[in-house]
Symmetry: C2
Subunit: 366 residues, 2 copies
């Protein structure tokens, strides 16, 4: 049964039925009712997304979108732009935080060059480039309409491949060709919190959305705020969310928007990482509000603007660990908890099967 | 270098040096400074416990202590006492939440019968029984002095075995005979939140420490509070923490106290689960305050008294996921995050090794 094949009210009824089935299933397992807390909520949400009780995850993929941002010429980051490409090499060599976390949490990594300044030439990097970095949006639109369309198409192409089982992770050429059922979205790109702030402000987020990405000084934050405010004013007004994305977005964010729009109706769960990824979800939700129905927020980043976007999307983060690294690290860690929720729901015995006495009195809400 | 071989001030200086080394090591890795948030703090604490940078975990063990509690005759739980033994069978058959979580998080399980009503006769259950359940402490001391000593000895014995690599988990006879470097402590026993409340109140915890363990009604909570209050008054005063433990404790808690006291100086980290396990740590810290130096709080349980004890022990929980299941589930989940901290610290490349440019300006505190 595909969600998109139904009218909204029928779809909601089907979702509610799956949610009830899953809640009953969880209550049949050998534990006090509700005692797995948040893991039970994650299980119910995943069951609704999959339309199946108990839900199962067979293939977990982290998609890390890298690109460069022309606005970094304005001096808004501690790191030089060359770091984007250097970190892509680091990913391929297995030395970054996302490599360790994805490996530990059972996620494959699909590494996508959405448009860094210099192509890496590495076969392990998926070449879906829309250009050699965006233009500096303080002075001109970040990208052309053609580049934006290319990014959106690339996102859709990635989802189609992941849905069909074809997208091959960079680290294992013999990866099973089965559909991904959960995608953790991550980003890498010097300047991308500036881009994320600009594009979300253009769509109505408050100015507080501008904060430090890396550990810049109070003075640099003030400068970053000025750059973002001036850039948004320079390109305003925007007729559509895509106009804002074209003027102020990045190739990474635009590619993720394409992915998010393409995920609808495919029963693939998506876990968001921090501020730039959640900015992509914020843009996508302005185009199609149904996008939020298959999203999880992997964590609450320490980047201040992240919480503002999570509130706007009505997403409660899985973890709150003070992280602010990017690369999909928070998405993969949160995604591990979703996987645990699925494993508990299918791996635990019921009271009946295990011959364990059930509660002798009705249980109260905790 | 063994902590116990040094005077306190020398030991503190050595700890502080390891902490500084670890912080420098973390800052050398390819990520913005501090961007792994809580995972960096966990890594530093583990390095200090191990006296080694970077810290490593080679063998992770969940020790689940099961026993019965005579006070359950007072009607303080939703579940009949028989459930303790039934759940031990469920553990052996792999159907409980702790089985799924330990398997997913890379922990072996050592399952200990500290004194449930009926011995299971199962070879997979470690027989360290101090009796067939405690007496009902509403009317008489929970255990004899001899039973208390037996529990403390059993705890020490378990730690010696885990330290030497001998304690064999129930699920794998070919488990590697290497020392455990992290122990996740868990409990199973109908009535054990009542026991935990009584023994901690006897040692000075406020009456708020009495709360629901499973989902009992407001009326049952009031009854439970009366039972605990009356029992503590009945046995007061207590000359030593061990007197309180004998009068109001459980075989599970007493065995865990023995473990915690024996862990000192062995450089094994210990992750606590919820309320009953943390009550054991609270008792142990009244006997030897240095116990807290190698402890982690795996999670913040929804059982209200848990937070009171965490505050008293000055432990900040790793996770806050609304769980209240017991069995070591929160300890294993928190322990997985400690393991991730260790893996990141040894698996990530440095800026130098990966040829990634470092920050061009000094980073500010986030």
């Amino acid at each position: 049964m595909s969600g998109t094949a139904l009218g909204v009210s029928e779809y909601d009824a089907a979702q509610s039925e799956v949610a009830d089935d899953m809640a009953r299933h969880l209550d049949s397992l050998t534990k006090p009712k509700g005692s797995l807390g948040r893991l039970e909520e994650l299980g119910v949400r995943l069951a609704v997304i999959q339309g199946h009780v108990p839900p199962r995850l067979h293939r977990k993929v982290a998609v890390v979108c890298a690109s460069d941002h022309g606005v970094s010429a304005e001096g808004v980051s501690l790191y030089p732009q060359a770091v984007t490409g250097q970190m892509v090499h680091n990913f391929v060599n297995g030395g970054a935080a996302i490599n360790v976390l994805a490996d530990s949490c059972g996620f494959e990594i699909v590494l996508v060059d959405c448009g860094i300044t210099e192509p890496t030439g590495l076969p392990a990097v998926r070449d879906l480039r829309a250009g050699a970095g965006t233009r500096n949006f303080r002075r001109e639109p970040a990208m052309t309409r053609e580049q934006l369309d290319r990014c959106l198409d690339h996102g859709e192409q990635l989802v189609q491949e992941l849905h069909s089982g074809r997208a091959v992770p960079f680290s294992e050429s013999d990866a099973p060709a089965r559909p991904a059922d959960i995608i953790a979205l991550g980003d890498m790109g010097i300047g991308n919190t500036t881009t994320a702030a600009a594009v979300t402000m253009a769509l109505g987020a408050p100015e507080d959305v501008v904060d430090r990405g890396t550990g810049i000084s109070a003075e640099m934050i003030e400068h970053k705020r000025t750059v973002v405010r001036d850039s948004v004013a320079f390109h305003s007004p925007f007729e559509t969310p895509l106009d804002a994305l074209r003027a102020l977005g990045g190739f990474d964010i635009a590619t993720m928007v394409g992915m998010l729009l393409a995920l609808r109706g495919r029963r693939i769960a998506c876990v968001l990482d921090g501020f730039p990824v959640t900015a992509a979800a914020y843009v996508a939700a302005h185009i199609d509000p149904a996008v939020t129905s298959f999203l999880f927020a992997g964590h609450r980043s320490k980047v201040r603007g992240h919480q503002i976007l999570l509130n706007a999307l009505d997403l409660e983060p899985i973890l709150d660990a003070g992280m602010h690294l990017g690369e999909g690290t928070g998405a993969v860690l949160g995604g591990f908890h979703i996987d645990l929720a699925a494993r508990l729901a299918s791996g635990m015995a019921s009271f009946t099967d295990a011959a364990v006495d059930e509660s002798t009195a009705p249980e109260e809400e905790y």
